[in-house]
């Protein structure tokens, strides 16, 4: 269904971000950029590589009942926007947590998991999910 949505090249390219949450940091703005950027909104290009903390808080969330084709087998699942301790934000699935226990403000911890199986080659694509603490 998906047009070769993850090839090995694409998969390898994002490993530092998907496996280690590697961001970069603008000292001028005290701002973490995830994924890393070449330039901060302030114009600063001297950004420092930093690994993000693995704990954060749910800002908002939903339970997906009709996912895209590559997630058809996993419906329903919870997913939310998580603010990490440094202020950087990610969109991530909320795993191993009963849906009715999820709420805005809930503390979560990041774990590395399989995200999807994709493409004709059946490449397993890994990345981050969060679980309630």
């Amino acid at each position: 269904m998906s047009f070769e949505s993850v090839t090995p090249a694409r998969y390898a390219r994002f490993m530092p971000q998907r496996y280690r949450l590697e961001a970069n940091y603008c000292a001028k703005c005290d701002l973490h950029h995830f994924p890393p950027r070449q330039i901060c909104k302030c114009g600063n290009k001297e950004l420092e590589t930093r690994t993000l903390p693995d704990e954060g808080e749910v800002l908002t969330y939903t339970i997906i009942h009709t996912p895209g084709s590559q997630f058809s087998d996993e419906r329903p699942f919870a997913i939310g926007i998580i603010e990490l301790a440094t202020g950087a934000r990610i969109t991530a699935q909320i795993a191993d947590t009963p849906f009715d226990e999820i709420e805005i403000g809930m503390r979560v911890k990041i774990e590395f998991r399989r995200i999807q199986t994709v493409g004709e080659a059946g490449v397993l694509a890994y990345g981050y999910k969060v679980v309630s603490m």
């Binding site: 047009f3 996912p67 084709s69 969109t91």
Partner: protein
Amino acid sequence: MRDVAVVGIGMNKWGELWDKDLRDLYVEASLLAIEDAGVDHIDSMYVGCMSSGLFNCQEHLGSLMADHLGLTPIPATRIESACVSGGIAFRMGFMEVAGGFSDIVLAGGVEKMTDVSGDGATFALATACDQEWEAYNGITFPGLYAMIARAHMHKHGTTREQIAMVSVKNHKNGMHNPNAQYHLTPSVEDIINSVKVAEPLNILDCSPITDGAAAVILTTVEKAKELGKPIIRVIGAGQASNTLALHNRSDLTRIQVTEDAAKMAYKMADKKPEDIDFAEVHDCFTIAELVIMEELGFVERGKGGAAVEAGETDVGGRIPINTSGGLKSKGHPVGATGVAQIHTLVEQLRCDMGECQVKGAKIGLAQNMGGSGGSATVHILEAMS
């Protein structure tokens, strides 16, 4: 800068049109617009379309459509900005005429979405959000708006019922629109009890998957007078961008790109929100309409739900919104939607809306939006007497 008017509009019946392909839809709507305008030639064309690559395995739409309309060798350009592709196609047409590069421009939009399965459509639409950092992790478009809804309910006390009322109102209006995909009148309860898509949003909170096209003809006010058409002038045109990923926006209860585009349009038009008589806005999901009303300055921030509940946005209300039925009932062929909004503005300003006519409508506003709010256009049209 020259004064610009919309002199022709065209749109076909929207829905699941298995027997028509991408070009059929676009050509049909365009021929209606050309006929309505009564022009004998077109100088240039813009085609708004989001993802004919993934939906139809066909790119290069400018050439395809100019060819099948018999308009070659005119310049013909396809514009893509997710669900605001049509709104930007219109803005490009406006600039081309206003700037003096062309006298008569066709701005159209099209999307043929039902050649792929439902899952396939969800996949294709998700390419409007950040593929690597949002879609990769499983989020969908209903999911993004559901997260906005959850945040809005949490911060402003917006109720599930208020959100559903947007759908009730728009379906009610859509009953009078012969081109609408759906003619039905769900109740608040029907909506709240309909199939779950992305909690708290259900299927009746979502605009459908649709095949359709719309087209309009832009020219100078001078030329419009020669054609003997009612003069519907474009007095404001705004476009803005914002972060592609929803999670990078500082306030998750807002869709700020709409405010930024509106500022540009209000300034050009020298108008304020209270000068607007009616509006067509991008209700891709019920919650979107509430937030957009706030961003356009029609209601205070956080008061969108209360305003809909009070009937302020009904056809007879203070600021009627989506008198066409909106994306909800009309359907949402994503590239066509922004152009269809202009179609409705012109119908209202020509006093051609029948049951849904806004009495004394002189100034209308159209707000079109891409993705979860990564891009938007706002246009203001005025009927000249």
